[in-house]
Structure formats: C-alpha cells, structure tokens
C-alpha cells in the first residue's frame, strides 16, 4: 500500500525529520547548559510519526498533542523562532513564555497545543473534530497520544463518542513502549486495535520508524475520516531514545532495549532510501546544514529575546481584563 513518493516528497519528509531531530538535540544541549527552564521531554527516535501523519494533513486540519510534542508542533508547521523562544521562556515565544515546552501551541497552523496531562488532548481533538463536522470545514482533527494514555479513561470515552457521532477524528497512537518509567506490558492489558474494533473504529498498525510507511498508512485513513467515514485509529510502533524527561538516567531500561531502539533510526532509514533513489549525498548534507542554520538562527534570536511581560500575563487571565481583585 505504499504510494509512490517522488524524490521531492521524500526529501521534504526527511527534511522535516531532520528539523525535529536537530531541534531536539539542540534543546538537549541548551537544557544541559541550564538555558531551558523546567522539564524537557524529547521525542528523538519518534520523528517519523508526526512527519508521516502531518504530511497527510491539510493546513486547516487540527492536531492536539502530548507532553512529548515538539515533533507534532514542528511537523504541523509552527514558527521555528516562536518555538525556540517559547521553550527558552521568552516574550517572543509562541505562548509569550507562559507555557513552555509542554504547552507549545500555534492555533494559526492548527496546532492545539502540547499538553501536560496524559490523555488531555484527546477530548480537545474530539471537540475540534466536532467543530469541523458542524461547521463543515472539510477538516479533520488528529489526537496524538502515547501508549501511556491508553490506560486513561478519557480515551475510552472518546473512542465511544467519536464512533457514535462519526467524527472526522484520527486517533494517532505513538506507541513507544514506555509509559513514563514503566513498560507497556505492565500498563495496558488490551490491544489498541482490539479496542477500536470493540467501538467499530478501524485500526491500522504501522512501523512508526518508517516515515514512508506512516505517510502511506495515514493518507487513506485521513481521506476516510475527511470523507465522512468516521474516526480512525493509526497505531505507530515507535521508539523513545531518551528518558521520559531530560536527565532521566533510564535505569529501568536495559541496554538491549535502548540499542534496539537506536537500530530503528527513522532518519537513517529514510536517508538510505533517498540515496537509493539517486540523490547525491552532498545534496542531503546541504539540506541538513540549511536546517541547522535555521535552528541556530532561531536559538540565537531566542537568546536575545525579552523576559516575558508580567503585566501582560496578569491581564491575560481572561480575554478581557475584569475589574476587582481575584485573589
């Protein structure tokens, strides 16, 4: 079921994966240097999932993300400068420094936010799909969620309601095998596909390290949802290379598991195909250097950014400031 992708398509997918990988590697170093406040959850190793799925989407489609959401944000096309400025806690950030890594959002491109609550994005995506349906936008919504969210009750509510209302909603599971610090087999007694079957929702499982496979699987699924076929499940089997958070020593993982994860590098797999298609290595390196230059420019701009405006934040608790003291 692989669609034939031309060289340009493949390069474009690869480029976005490089953007995510290099951005997160840069963030990892910035975090180690103390330049990133708070927590940082990286999706290195999982890049093919957001890139493959978002490549099947249109600009007006919407995605709700997770605490491991940098890939979703970048694949959906959020502004790179605003992205880094947000994670460094600057006024110029997408959220004016009020959200940080775990709340990166850009409504202009349909990115409804990373989310600090496991499973929290699921009903948001469902509501977004409802808005697409009622307003006849022709759009679809994607709920990205990890395997850890499969044990959240709200997933089961959402599968049920999305099926009842035939919503244009994609349940995009990034199954990396780890619910924070615990392996999937200790967290979830069912199978997502079987769960979908119970609710009458078609489910497809795909190699989430293979960006072409993800995109090839996502295309018909998105078309089905867009055409009134109701919700769909796309379970992407993927690998988390880093800890739950940066600084997590991952003592709960054995070396074999980590080596196995790294052996399925979506960038290496994609690059091999591009090379096999006859694209010269120096063109690929040029593309990578251009991405790295964009990232460095974004980082430098973010470093020079302003501290967030406290008065503006205080005035933004409500859409219009209200009179009186509220605490």
């Amino acid at each position: 079921m692989h669609m034939e992708l031309n060289q340009q398509d493949l390069l474009s997918l690869y480029e976005t994966m490089v953007l995510i990988r290099r951005s997160e590697e840069r963030l990892s170093r910035l975090f180690a240097d103390g330049e990133v406040p708070g927590f940082l959850h990286l999706s290195i190793g999982q890049e093919a999932v957001p890139v493959g799925i978002c490549a099947a989407l249109q600009a007006a489609d919407t995605v709700a993300s997770t605490h491991r959401g940098h890939g979703h944000a970048l694949a959906k096309g959020v502004d790179l400068g605003g992205f880094f400025a947000e994670i460094l806690g600057r006024e110029e950030g997408l959220c004016r420094g009020r959200g940080g890594s775990i709340h990166v959002a850009d409504l202009r491109v349909g990115m409804l936010g990373a989310n600090g609550i496991v499973g929290g994005g699921l009903p948001l995506a469902l509501g977004s799909a409802l808005a697409h349906q009622v307003r006849r936008t022709g759009g679809v919504a994607v709920a990205f969620f990890g395997d850890g969210a499969m044990a959240e009750g709200v997933l089961h509510e959402c599968l049920n309601l999305a099926s009842l209302w035939k919503l244009p909603l994609i349940f995009a599971c990034e199954n990396n095998g780890w619910s924070e610090f615990s392996p999937l087999e200790r967290q979830f007694a069912a199978q997502l596909g079987a769960l979908g079957n119970a609710f009458g929702i078609p489910a497809v499982q795909v190699d989430g390290s293979d960006v072409e496979a993800v995109r090839a699987a996502a295309n018909p699924i998105v078309a089905l949802a867009r055409g009134g076929g109701g919700p769909q499940i796309l379970e992407c089997l993927t690998h988390r290379w880093r800890g739950h958070y940066e600084g997590d020593p991952q003592k709960y993982r054995d070396a074999g598991d980590l080596a196995d994860a790294r052996s399925r590098d979506p960038l290496v797999m994609s690059e091999a195909r591009i090379v096999a298609m006859g694209i010269p290595a120096d063109r690929i390196r040029t593309l990578e250097r251009a991405v790295e230059a964009r990232i460095e420019a974004a980082v430098e701009a973010a470093r020079l950014g302003r501290e967030p405006d406290y008065a503006a934040a205080a005035a933004d608790v409500y859409t219009q400031a209200v009179a009186g003291d509220h605490g």
Partner: protein, 349 residues
C-alpha cells in the same frame, strides 16, 4: 442514582408570559442564543431527545435539529473536554453536567484545559464555552447529588462562575455567559427550577460580575447568591418587622464578584453577613469576608459573619438535610449576632 427524566420535570410549561419559571427562562435564553448565533451548540447527557433531566432543554432538539442539540453518553470528562476543543474550533458550546457533583469527572478539562488555554497559549485564543450545571440540596438527593461546589471553580484563574437567583437573571446571565469569550460555569439551583419571576419580552442584559441590590437597608448587609437570596429576603422581611433594616445583595456572579457593590453597601451598614448554601469552610463567604476585612477593617462594627452548610456531606434523610443546610433562621441569627457584637480586646485561643 441517575433519575429518569419524568421524575424531576418541574412545572415549567404552566407559567404565563409575565411570570416565567426559572427553568423556562434558561430554556428561552438557550433558544434565543441559538437563534441569534449558529455557532452555539448544546450537548450533554439527555439534553436532546429527553429534553434534559430537569426539562430545561425541552423542545430545543425539535427547534434546532440533531446537529446542534446532541445527547452524549455518560462521559463527563469528554463532554467538558470536547467543549474546549469545539470552542477552540470556532463553536460556542453550551454543555450540561447533569448534577454539579459530577463535575469531579470533568475537572481536567475545566481546570487544566478550559481555564488555562487563553493565558497559557499567550492570548492566541479564547475558550467561549459554558458549562451549565445544577447544584444544591433540598431534594433529599443525598451526598452525591446535592453539593454546591462553585467555590472550587472560583479558585481557578481563568474560569468565570455565575449563580443566578431568579428567572430574569438566569436569562440575562446565560445570554452573557454564552456571549462571553471565556469559559463560564453557569450554576443553577435545583430548587429554583420551578420558581417564578418576571421576565420581560425583551430582557435587560446583565453583565457578569455585577451584583444587584435585592432589598435596600441601612443596618446590616446580607450578601447571598442563588437560592440563598430568597432565604436572605425572607430573613430581611422578618427582621424588618422588628425594626431592623437589612440590605440584601444578590451577588449573581462569584468570579468575578462585585467587590464595589459590597463595599458600597458595607460603607453604609458597617455590618456584613455572607450567606450561601455551600459548606461554610473555605467557601465563597470566606473569600468575601477576608477581602472586605482587608479593605474595610477599621470601618466595620462587627466581624464579617458567614452562614453556610455545616461541614459534612449533604445527608439524605429529611431531618438531617434540613439541619445541615442553612436557612432563613440562620441568616437572621447571624444578623442579630452582628448587631449585638461587643468588641473584645482579648484574644482567647
């Protein structure tokens, strides 16, 4: 317990035009808002075909069709969360949580998502949604169907909370809540659904955050909201016969609340009693008492007194529930206590 709809249908449909019942005023506000704005949609448990557990949404499915008026499964977390997503997607959802006690199941969507999206995303978006939910006891519905939990939401930056006491305010505040760009928790009192009041053909708007002087007086101020306003007015009437002129302020909005209106009244009376059906401890009355004490300590003739439910789950049996919940007599006692206050310089721990 989830009641079958017919059990609780109040006599909504027997009122005249001039005298409208509280539940019917809400119904009319929903219908008028949906008529005026195609982006307003309703969903919740049994709100469409059954017409709502208290018959408040009756007739709206027939009028506006199944796309805009939807029954949901019993999935409170998703009802509230979907409202957030729908609001971010350009709709103005009005959702119902059948009993306020069930908001416990919807707290993530309300507290972590709805309340924060505007702020947390740097002002990129607003979340124009309304959660309608009935609170309150008096129906012997027991500990899980009787609570007044509005203080929880007033404590969360980003949420607005309104609690109308009469049909005209219910209409106007619901229209205001639906028009508001921010998430609003619209609290209805179950015992008020069949209460009657005037509702004009073209009702006056009411701004969220504005209180109303329900009765003027100069001796003491009673601040109340929701069903406690009627109790406060009855208490004031009884006290008036004894020559005590109590001023009753119907707060109408809990968050934001009308500090200025309360201060103006207290400047006149120098005595303040806050009455609500919710548990006294850590409640709305505690916040108002603290704030007014901070602003007006030197001018007060007595400490701010609170009247609320005893600190226990709302019990089931008639006698137990009656004793637990505050009423007219408790408010009168508090007013008298305020008037009789003797300053005591010594603090006795």
């Amino acid at each position: 317990m989830r009641p079958q709809p017919p059990m609780y249908i109040p006599r909504l449909w027997q009122a005249t035009m001039a005298e409208t019942r509280y539940g019917m005023a809400i119904n009319r506000a929903l219908a008028d808002a949906m008529q005026a704005d195609a982006s307003v949609i309703l969903f919740g448990e049994d709100v469409a075909a059954p017409g709502g557990p208290f018959a408040v949404t009756r007739g709206l499915l027939a009028k506006f069709g199944p796309e805009r008026v939807r029954d949901t499964p019993i999935s409170e977390a998703t009802i509230a969360g979907a409202a957030v997503g729908a609001a971010l997607g350009g709709l103005k959802p009005v959702v119902e949580i059948m009993f306020m006690d069930f908001v416990t199941l919807a707290m993530d969507a309300l507290v972590n998502q709805a309340a924060k999206a505007h702020f947390m995303f740097g002002g990129q978006c607003s979340v124009p949604m309304v959660v309608r939910t009935p609170h309150g006891g008096g129906l012997n519905a027991g500990p899980q169907h009787s609570q007044c939990l509005e203080a929880w939401f007033a404590h969360v930056p980003g949420l607005k909370v309104v609690v109308p006491s009469n049909p005209a305010d219910a209409y106007a505040l619901l229209r205001a809540a639906i028009a508001d760009p921010d998430p609003v928790v619209f609290v209805e009192n179950k015992t008020l659904y069949s209460s009657k009041g005037e509702l004009a053909d073209a009702p006056q708007p009411v701004a969220i955050g504005s209180a109303r002087i329900a009765q003027s007086g100069s001796d003491a101020t009673i601040v109340a909201y929701g069903a406690s306003v009627a109790a406060a007015l009855k208490a004031a009437a009884t006290l008036a016969a004894e020559g005590i002129a109590a001023e009753v302020i119907d707060l109408r909005s809990i968050q934001p609340w009308d500090e200025r209106a309360v201060l103006e009244s207290v400047a006149k009376t120098r005595r303040l009693i806050v009455a609500h059906e919710a548990v006294t401890a850590f409640g709305v009355g505690a916040e108002i008492a603290a704030r007014i004490s901070e602003l007006a300590f030197g001018g007060l003739a007595a400490p701010v007194l609170r009247v609320g439910a005893d600190f226990m789950p709302v019990p089931f049996a008639r006698s137990l529930e009656r004793e637990c919940l505050p009423g007219e007599a408790d408010i009168m006692a508090a007013v008298r206590r305020s008037l009789d206050w003797k300053p005591n310089a010594r603090i006795k721990p």
